[in-house]
């Protein structure tokens, strides 16, 4: 469960480059709900996810995860509750460490890290099994440097890493944007499965209206740091991509520049 109440967040406060990235975001997501987040560039989607993960501190408002007020927690402390995948495939993994070392890092999320060896036969077996599910042949490359993998492979591993340890919420920031259509579809399928199996409360940012409607239970639209659209249930079921685009246009109060949006 996630509760944001009246989040305000400003970048470069007082400077000429001041940006009001979040201007009063109030959002209540019940446990297990899968919310897709859309909005134009600079709407504040990444900022919202970063604030939830603890990368940025809001100047006012509160964030509650599973009835715990985490507003003042630094990001590493929230990691026991929050799993995430970044847009950039390079951001979610360490390129100069091996695949198995990256997985071991993720397997320690939320636990105390002691002086025991990070990798043993049991863990390697577990990692191999998890990787086999991907169907990318990575189960034979446990000892390969992460940096040698392709972007799609790295992003798939990032998603596995996010799911390796139990967490309460999953934050996905355009995690398929850098992938080719086929890999993106595979990663989306994996996402659905992980969210369903682990009953994760999920926020997924996407620029694809199709993904926004086809996945999850609820869709919100951000515009200039505010939630301007929030649809779920039957109302959402009947919605087409065109409806969503029309909403988008109405919100922005301007003609729609088609090539700015991926109709995916």
């Amino acid at each position: 469960m996630i509760r944001c109440s009246d989040l305000h967040l400003t970048f470069n406060r007082g400077a000429p480059t001041e940006r009001l990235a979040l201007r009063g975001v109030t959002l209540d997501i019940p446990a297990g709900e899968f919310v897709t987040v859309i909005g134009s560039n600079g709407a504040g989607k990444s900022t919202l996810l970063n604030a939830l993960a603890g990368d940025y501190q809001p100047e006012s408002g509160a964030i509650t995860i599973d009835e715990q007020d985490v507003t003042a927690w630094p990001s590493h402390r929230r990691a026991g509750l929050v799993a995430r995948v970044f847009q950039d495939p390079l951001a979610g993994t360490c390129g100069d460490m091996t695949v198995e070392e990256n997985l071991a890092l993720a397997a320690g999320r939320g636990n105390r890290r002691g002086f025991g060896l990070a990798l043993d036969a049991g863990r390697r077996d577990r990692f191999r099994d998890t990787l086999r599910d991907l169907g990318l042949g990575l189960e034979n490359r446990l000892g390969a440097q992460m940096g040698l993998l392709s972007g799609g492979q790295r992003q798939s591993v990032s998603l596995l890493m996010a799911a390796l340890q139990p967490s309460r919420i999953l934050l996905l920031d355009e995690h398929t944007a850098a992938l080719d259509p086929k890999t993106a579809a595979m990663v989306m399928g994996l996402t659905d499965r992980i969210v369903r199996d682990q009953k994760l409360t999920t926020l997924m940012v996407t620029h694809s209206m199709r993904h926004a409607l086809d996945h999850g239970d609820r869709t919100i639209m951000l515009h200039e740091g505010r939630i301007v659209l929030d649809i779920a249930g039957d109302k959402r079921k009947g919605l087409t991509v065109q409806d969503l685009l029309d909403q988008f246009a109405r919100v922005r109060n301007e003609a729609l520049d088609d090539d700015k949006l991926l109709l995916g």
Binding site: P74, S75, R77, C94, G114, L117
Partner: protein, 314 residues
């Protein structure tokens, strides 16, 4: 070069291998360019030598030196993490302050260690001359430290340390306190360097406030020579490469000083080291540039694969 001189070079190379491990930890693992080393090396020597002359057991004195070095590393880390001072500048501040600290600890510019027991004493009198015993003992110590360090870097906590240097945002997202990891790594790094200082003082019979000048460059030289000659993937091999790099550096210097035709003296050491490190840093870049020029000439249409990031780290 005589056998004794050769063994002497190996011995110093082995002691400085500990410095190389420390530099590898800060520069490579943590990605924290740390010059504190120039101060923590003489600090380790000063603390150990002073305590030993005061009658403290040499092993306890050496351990105290490690703690003093670790504390120095922590000061640099606090200046950087807590107060946001650029890491290079933070480490220069600590290094400068440590010069005075070492003088104060010793109560003068140097402390001789004559006619006192050192960590080497228990190993004397096995019928082996000192010039053999010292390098063998130091080889055992440095290999042991390398094994322990590699074991640590492959532990859960060690992995957290490596992730902190490699991708701090990812590390935090996986629940690693990057600040805590940096404190730990900086303490460990400078503790090792101080241990090197303590051993150096005991092997050579003195501690001197000026003995730290250029330590960082020597450590870097060892790391770079090791990486260039023995490119390795696993942590243990990287550390052993640093060790080998440190010994090879000393041998190269030893041969250069011994070659009368060159007319070099010990006072030319720092310039030679700087040239050596500079060259090791410049050569790979020149090689890349030459390669990309060749690629351009032969195939103008094809994009060249010159990596813009490869030259970032020293």
């Amino acid at each position: 070069m005589s056998v004794i001189a050769l063994l002497g070079s190996v011995e110093i190379g082995l002691v400085y291998a500990l410095v190389a491990f420390g530099v590898y930890l800060s520069f490579r693992v943590l990605n924290f360019p740390d010059l504190t080393v120039d101060g923590s090396f003489p600090l380790g020597a000063a603390v150990a030598a002073t305590l030993i002359t005061k009658g403290v057991d040499p092993f306890i004195a050496s351990f105290a030196a490690v703690l003093a070095g670790a504390a120095a590393g922590l000061v640099t880390a606090v200046l950087n993490l807590r107060f946001g001072i650029l890491h290079l500048l933070a480490s220069i501040l600590t290094m400068t302050a440590l010069y005075t600290v070492s003088l104060r600890v010793m109560g003068g510019p140097n402390v001789p260690l004559l006619m006192v027991d050192t960590v080497l004493t228990p190993f004397q009198g096995f019928g082996m001359p000192d010039y053999w015993m010292k390098p063998i003992l130091f080889a055992v110590i440095t290999v042991l430290v390398a094994l322990l360090l590699a074991r640590y870097l492959n532990s859960e906590s060690g992995l957290a340390l490596r992730a902190t240097g490699s991708n701090p945002r990812m590390a935090r997202a996986n629940g690693i306190s990057t600040d805590a990891a940096t404190y730990l790594g900086m303490g460990l790094s400078n503790g090792l360097v101080a241990l090197a200082g303590a051993l150096f003082a005991q092997a050579n019979g003195f501690a001197d406030a000026t003995m730290g000048i250029g330590t960082i460059v020597i450590g870097l030289a060892a790391v770079i020579i090791g990486e260039t000659l023995l490119p390795a993937r696993s942590v243990l091999w990287m550390l052993l490469a640093c060790l080998a790099g440190s010994v090879m550096y000393r041998l190269a210097i030893g041969f250069a000083l011994n070659a009368d035709v060159l007319g070099l003296t010990a006072s030319d050491l720092n310039l030679m080291t700087a040239l050596l490190v500079g060259l090791a840093l410049i050569l790979p870049r020149l090689k890349r540039e030459a390669a990309s020029r060749r690629a351009k000439r032969t195939q103008t249409a094809r994009p060249t694969a010159a990596s813009p990031t490869a030259g970032d780290k020293p």
